[in-house]
Symmetry: D2
Subunit: 335 residues, 4 copies
């Protein structure tokens, strides 16, 4: 197996985390270059990790030492950079969301289809979380029957002030939409949104309650509460005809101390999804080496998640149940 | 403290359970008489417990040895029997639902108000379950902030064949409606219903997903699945601004056996709510003796639960979000 | 069923709790009198509960309004008061320990045998805790095989300064000894004691680790830590040939708040064993009315627990494994 | 960072697992050769993984394509192969136990000290399990005070017929001895052993209950039950002055099905300790590349675990509490 040489575009919090992980932590992968619009930030990280700092994203994509590209730059640049990677014939893993506009994802899919092979993976890492993977396995095996409900809760400890009620739907909820499609193995066809009051400590944005329905009728309800104070907490219970599967929180120990018996809740997603990120990278690298597709989100998955998001936004602004558009799935993205 | 002498109308499964509990198990209470339309059934129970079997419900209500009446007869008879107890000036605990028609409850409230004291309690025993009581306490104390969401799941192992999709809303969900009103301490103002597919082993009825919203905006979602196979399971998580409270299942032990580590799930509600039933009876008896009101459901609570039910049925048949009628609350039922 | 009229001797913390519970909270029971060496304390409680305050314990035992006696006075008086109750032919429930000296319990047993019926119950209330009762049922049914191990932990939040390393064995561990005998259904035959260091915040007394072995070889290990700071916590896991049963903590809800997800640990035993105390009283009253024996500790049980205690104290002072004396069990106490 | 080329000696169940993991799954490592006394078995695995099959262990150790050696051969060969690896100046990871005889480990330590650098790591992988690592961190930080107790349970689903009561102490318990030393950060000084009866389905061997005490007095009790039927289960609770830390079982989901709510218990250690094995290999490879020591067991650790084992065997055969020999720790193995 040859080593896959990876370049990282965007060295903010997440890009830096990822770059460090790729620098020696993923078998078969080698980090070779980093780039950021803030050149100093990229240089410092490059020096720390002993890799190249490249000034321009285009140059990084084109670099002969770069076999594959990880895009962690601001959301608005994702699709354009993905297109360039496709043009260079290089596999690209794009942090979610793959694009802000549906036209951008359509362009991405057209380019990828024209290239004749799947080059795009979208960074919905929960697909590699052992808990979601087990839920998907249970659905696929039908060992406790078909799914009827999927109850999801997504809570952040706190959120930046620019986050609005709308962005909670447009951005924070995206992981849940992709996870539901992944676990259920089918498309979402309708969306309803109901908003509880604003919490006093986070005025100006409402938590959201989103109810989706899948093609075969499974009801998926999603609480998104981005200011939950007590910590980062992602829960899900899949209810099938004859049994239910529930995610368990991850800490390897429980603590009895100070009149409490239980778990420490982490402040953010890093500890909770550390395994998922690692397994996502391992799977991505393996798929590049073997040329075989993996469980990761494709451009099509990114597209359908965007259409679900659009329906939710409309459901939210109108108060109505909104159908999710169902474009025909190209054969290229079947199976 | 004088003993309260109780007569039980209806000796089906639940009435029989209740009668046995009242025959020596509730301090300050004494069972004195039972009645059932199936006279044999009542006689056998009366003999077992050493009490009177009375042929007619009216006679039981009128009996000098009966201070208070417990109504466990078929649903359709509840309101009429309640009216008779009020007419006799005797406290009456009516199994839920208090009535099938709103006019019946209105008549009950009018009679009770005319009598000048609260004589009716509706048997929503979850109000006496220590878990729901703790949730209510947390809301009232605001110690983790105001409520934003309440997620509820209600699952039965299996259900009789007469149960329809409509009855799941009209009957099975009632406990959840009352519990939400009790925990949140305010009225429900709107309802949405979304139905997943019928499970293959229970064709002809769909599980239901009901989303309510309370006066101050709290979103209450309720899964009702009456054919869950694995057992009887009632869950709830109350999400407040700064923390959440979740019901824990009741078994006093966990078991590791046969490749499983966890709890035995009971087949029905009796073990799960044994304490709630006992505490409900104790509280009822105490309120009779002291003349002070308790946490139990009043006729007004039964009425509002009926209006929520009506809104849910309309939401289900139309697919729309339906406002719950909000009649003015009589001063008699304030506080 | 006639009412059992109960007199309580000793109105300290526990006696007061018990008296309040008996005053209207236990079906079939009526509190009629209280007594304490501090007459004021008894009078105040008597007034609160509307019962007689009797100045002398002897007079209470003799009182015509007292059918049965609950002894909650200081430990050193237990056995003598028990003897007087037997002499008066009245059932007596004695808080643990039944006596400090084996001669006292022997006298109690002789008196009881002479009286020809079991009048003494010792207040090891864990026998009525649903968790321990389930463990006993599992052993008796052999449904997961025979017991091999029983792991027990007993932790108090803090303890009074008079508690010594010796008293931790002589007094705090007693509940565990009785519980092990109850669950396993056989005698303890040997004891080993190993002491960890004194915690810095409770100098002068060591926690204790006691290893018992039952007649058929089951190993019972008991941690007793009386200054655990985080709260009151009693755990047990019974390991049988094919499975294990573990006590679950009792709270009806769990809480996610302030970076923790789990249970609130209570500061003392009252919440943890509230049900056990209630069920113990109900069972005692029922056994008085019906004349049938119950699951409660007999004088024999109190005696054997005392012999286990003596062996533990010797094991502790010598560092050796010590055999527990096994006197012949009188036929009176069989079965 | 250069790649570490690894040769595996012994391709039984565990060696095969390890070889597959090293063949591409550990960053910075490359599997280059395998060897087994059953040449066919080695050849088949070599072919599967695309590496060399080498007929003799000596040749593998000497091979120029092998930078480091993993010893998974039968226990009796561990020490001799370790010595040869030291002689060749190659780092060697030896599956536990490092040796059967203390003289062998002494020879290994002498050789390693003569070589002037630590070349031996013993495969007690629990040191890399996130749960044990957290326990060690809690002890080292003293954030809930000093340790008083450590309660450990080690259960296998079933065991091969050659396993005897003696081997349960000599072999199965070894992981617990090393884990206790690792978590507590100090030596074990005394041992007591008490044996419950043989389970009926595994006659001829008794489960064991081992009580150790550490240098500062912490009591460590260990249940070893190798025929627990319900699955593989390793538990531990560390009790410190002000709080306790408990291992949580690992599954990422819980299941409600067939009247049970809880976790699936795995049949063996592979799923439970998959992360620990991976992290152990990663840490070993990193320590080879950087030349810095890691958290892994050293030859000294293997030696002290052997002395604890010897004391336990003597405690078991005599029924007495036995002191563990405390040889002086060479400066080479300090810190």
């Amino acid at each position: 197996m040859n080593e896959v040489r990876i370049g990282v575009i965007g060295t903010g919090v997440m890009g830096t985390d990822h770059a460090r992980k790729l620098a020696g932590g993923i078998p078969g992968a080698r980090l070779t270059a980093v780039q950021d619009f803030a050149a100093d930030r990229a240089s410092a990280l490059a020096q720390e990790l002993g890799v190249l700092a490249i000034a321009e994203a285009d140059a990084l994509i084109a670099d002969a030492e770069v076999d594959a590209v990880l895009v962690c730059s601001p959301d608005g640049t994702h699709a354009a950079l993905g297109l360039k990677a496709i043009a260079a014939g290089k596999p690209v893993l794009i942090e979610k969301p793959v694009a802000a506009e549906r036209g951008e994802v359509e362009a991405l899919m057209r380019a990828e289809m024209a290239a004749g092979r799947k080059l795009v993976q979208v960074g919905y890492m929960r697909r590699f979380d052992p808990g979601y993977a087990e839920m998907r396995r249970v659905v696929a095996s039908a060992e406790v029957g078909s799914p009827l409900f999927m109850h999801c809760q997504h809570r952040n400890e706190s959120s930046p002030s620019y986050l609005t009620s709308e962005l909670i739907i447009a951005n924070s909820a995206g992981h849940e939409f992709d996870a539901a499609r992944f676990v259920l193995g089918e498309e979402i066809v309708a969306a309803t949104v109901i908003s509880p009051p604003e919490p006093r400590h986070a005025p100006g944005r409402q938590p959201q309650f989103i109810v989706l329905q899948s093609a075969s009728g499974t009801v998926v309800d999603i609480e998104v509460y981005t200011d939950a104070r007590y910590g980062y907490d992602v829960q899900a219970e899949l209810v099938c005809e004859e049994g239910t599967v529930r995610l368990r929180p991850g800490p390897p120990t429980s603590l009895r101390h100070a009149a409490r018996d239980g778990l420490v809740v982490p402040p953010d997603w890093r500890a909770r999804f550390a395994d998922a990120y690692r397994l996502q990278f391992e799977s991505w690298v393996r798929s590049i080496v073997t040329g075989q597709s993996n469980e990761g989100s494709t451009a099509w998955d990114g597209y359908m998640t965007l259409l679900v998001t659009e329906a939710c936004l409309k459901a939210w602004s109108t108060g109505n149940r909104i159908a999710v558009e169902q474009p025909e799935r190209p054969a290229f993205y079947q199976g």
